[in-house]
């Protein structure tokens, strides 16, 4: 944890809200070089994914008559693949797919995990025990094995990938929410609220939710690389995104099949995955150090 020691103690800034606090966070982030590098990479990735239609020099799925498996050149900055498609355009469009999967899957996992975690944390003991057992059982499947089993049943597609990511991440978020809820629910301000006659929905929604959601969002942002990796991995195995839709995984798979003819597609397909996972990881670690140093310290 090299970054933790350089970041200021955030204790005194707690409770400060508004633009002043934001500026302070920004100052802290500015001092974390790796965090800034991460931010830059993330902005680049998200930006190119949003502006993919404008930025991509060619149509990503267009099969061209030009040279096949060509090395990088001025016309094709990352070369062409076995069908003569421009790899750079495919990489840029693939970023859009990766980001879409990440957002959809993490959104679903966050909301369901939040709901289940609140129920487990606030509900009766037997329900909590039962839900914990189910969470542990779901997590007992190694993710990739679970993913392969689901693909066999539902067939390979983008929505299968989203489903797998959501199902395997729900227990993680639910567990965090549950623990937080349990430690909160006997706090004095909650007891006071209850004494004043507030119902369970009000307590959960108005008082517990805002306290739980912060750490959860940081966790989710640190999980983005995992999701992107899983999508690319499944697509690489031919079990995620269907061709001709470009994905970093399918680019790698195409490259792998022709690896003896040309190394360029594999190189080009791997770099965006590496840069994106690094970017989100560096940024996530910096944010975590700033906002919540206790969270996931061991990872």
């Amino acid at each position: 944890m090299t970054t933790a020691e350089t970041v200021h103690d955030t204790g005194e800034s707690e409770g400060v809200r508004g633009p002043g606090a934001l500026r302070q966070y920004w100052q802290q982030l500015r001092q974390d070089h790796l965090g800034m590098l991460g931010l830059l990479l993330v902005v680049l990735m998200v930006g190119s994914a949003i502006l993919a239609d404008v930025v991509a020099p060619y149509e990503a799925t267009k099969v061209m008559v030009g040279p096949r498996l060509a090395p990088p050149s001025w016309d094709h900055w990352l070369g062409t693949d076995h069908l003569g498609r421009d790899v750079l355009s495919r990489v840029i469009m693939g970023g859009r797919v990766a980001l879409m999967v990440a957002m959809a899957a993490l959104g679903a996992a966050l909301s369901l995990g939040l709901l289940l975690g609140l129920i487990a944390g606030f509900g009766p003991q037997w329900l909590d025990n039962g839900m914990l057992l189910i969470f542990d059982a779901v997590r007992a499947f190694p993710v990739i094995i679970f993913a392969l089993a689901v693909v066999t049943l539902l067939g390979p597609s983008l929505s299968t990938v989203i489903f797998v990511v959501a199902v395997t991440s729900i227990p993680i978020y639910a567990r965090v929410v549950r623990t937080q809820t349990q430690s909160l629910k006997n706090n004095e301000f909650i007891l006071a609220e209850r004494a004043m006659g507030a119902g369970t929905p009000r307590i959960l929604g108005v008082h517990i939710l805002p306290n739980v959601i912060g750490p959860l969002l940081i966790l989710a942002s640190m999980d983005v690389p995992l999701v992107i990796t899983l999508e690319a991995g499944l697509s690489f195995l031919g079990m995620g995104v269907r061709p001709p839709t470009p994905s970093w995984g399918t680019i790698l798979n195409d490259g792998y099949n022709y690896i003896r003819n040309s190394p360029w597609p594999v190189v080009a397909g791997g770099i965006p995955i590496i840069l994106t996972t690094l970017g989100f990881t560096f940024l996530g670690e910096a944010l975590r150090d700033i906002f919540d140093p206790k969270l996931r310290k061991d990872l």
């Binding site: 020691e5 007992a140 392969l148 066999t152 690319a232 490259g255 594999v266 791997g270 690094l278 061991d298």
Partner: protein, 313 residues
């Protein structure tokens, strides 16, 4: 300790039972007839009926679940759709390759990472410590299959130093040569991960009273580190290894596919592509079992070493 043991074992069994039930429900929740899916689109009604009877699909659902469990307990996981060989034999035949790969990877990673983390903790905030820190995060973040592909590209295709595919045919040396690249790809993330953990726990322990005491007694620093700090600092790695089995397995699956190595990974991927249900299920069962066993052992070892863990379950 005994109470903890019983509770932990109960949890392990409960997880396996739940996992098997989930698997069963998942297969039956899919729209359509499992027999039809297994037989494919060109199946005749007679064939379907025969398979129905054979699979016990006409029995009531609770009976089906119980028979399923009974079969699994007896080690009977059905037969391969194509070769008609027992699934258990096929899966167990592939298992040694995967286990060898996983153990080799984790072994070399630990051998490199523990000294590295130790060194970073002692020479904290030096250049080497900082570089190791960044590299650790880097190697953890980069997915293992990208590592595997790049390793294949660089060392097998471009430099031609090591073989690209298979597990080797002739003798030990050949097998080792085939193992190097996959083990490199699977293990490299763990170098970063373990060294970070060792560094963190080493820093914590070096500040503790018994170490300060040893210093006060004037023991040589070398002896303090190796005799009094390191054994304690390695502890957290044991727990992480248990939980890390899942990551190791995932990484091994990809490494096996990329290097066309025999093993569980290659087996399940081929089975998924050919919709070979019994093999997929058998592999899922065996890996889940393996995973639960390893996490249980890791937890028990941890509870044996650290009394605080025993209280928490």
């Amino acid at each position: 300790m005994w109470l903890y043991l019983v509770r932990r074992l109960f949890l392990a069994v409960a997880i396996v039972v739940l996992a098997v039930t989930l698997l069963f429900v998942m297969i039956h929740a899919v729209p359509g007839d499992p027999a039809a899916i297994i037989l494919g689109p060109r199946a005749t009604p007679e064939l379907k009926a025969a398979l129905h009877a054979k699979m016990g699909l006409d029995d009531p659902l609770p009976v089906q679940i119980l028979t399923f469990f009974a079969d699994v307990v007896r080690g009977d996981m059905g037969t391969d759709v194509f070769t008609q060989r027992p699934v258990s034999r096929i899966v167990l035949g592939q298992l040694p390759f995967t286990i060898t790969l996983i153990l080799t990877s984790i072994a070399w990673a630990a051998l490199v990472a523990i000294p590295l983390g130790c060194y970073s903790a002692i020479r904290r905030n030096t250049m080497i410590d900082k570089v190791t820190g960044v590299l650790s995060v880097g190697t953890i973040a980069i997915p293992s299959f990208v590592m595997a592909l790049y390793a294949l590209l660089i060392f097998a295709v471009l430099l031609k130093w090591l073989p690209a595919i298979g597990a080797g045919q002739g003798g030990l040396w050949d097998a080792i040569r085939h193992l190097i690249l996959p083990a490199l790809a699977v293990g490299i993330g763990w170098v970063g991960y373990i060294s970070r953990i060792v560094r963190a726990s080493m820093l914590e322990i070096l500040g503790e009273n018994h170490v300060r005491m040893a210093r006060a007694f004037g023991l040589p620093e070398r002896r303090i580190v190796f005799r009094y700090a390191l054994p304690l600092a390695i502890l957290p790695t044991v727990t992480v290894l248990g939980v890390g089995m899942a990551h190791l397995l995932s990484a091994a699956v990809f490494a096996e596919v990329v290097f066309a190595r025999p093993g569980i990974g290659g087996l399940i991927v081929t089975a998924v592509n050919t919709r070979n249900y019994p093999i997929v299920m058998g592999t899922v069962l065996v890996t889940t079992g393996l995973f639960v066993i390893s996490t249980t052992i890791a937890d028990l070892v941890n509870a044996m070493l650290d009394p605080r863990v025993r209280e928490s379950l």
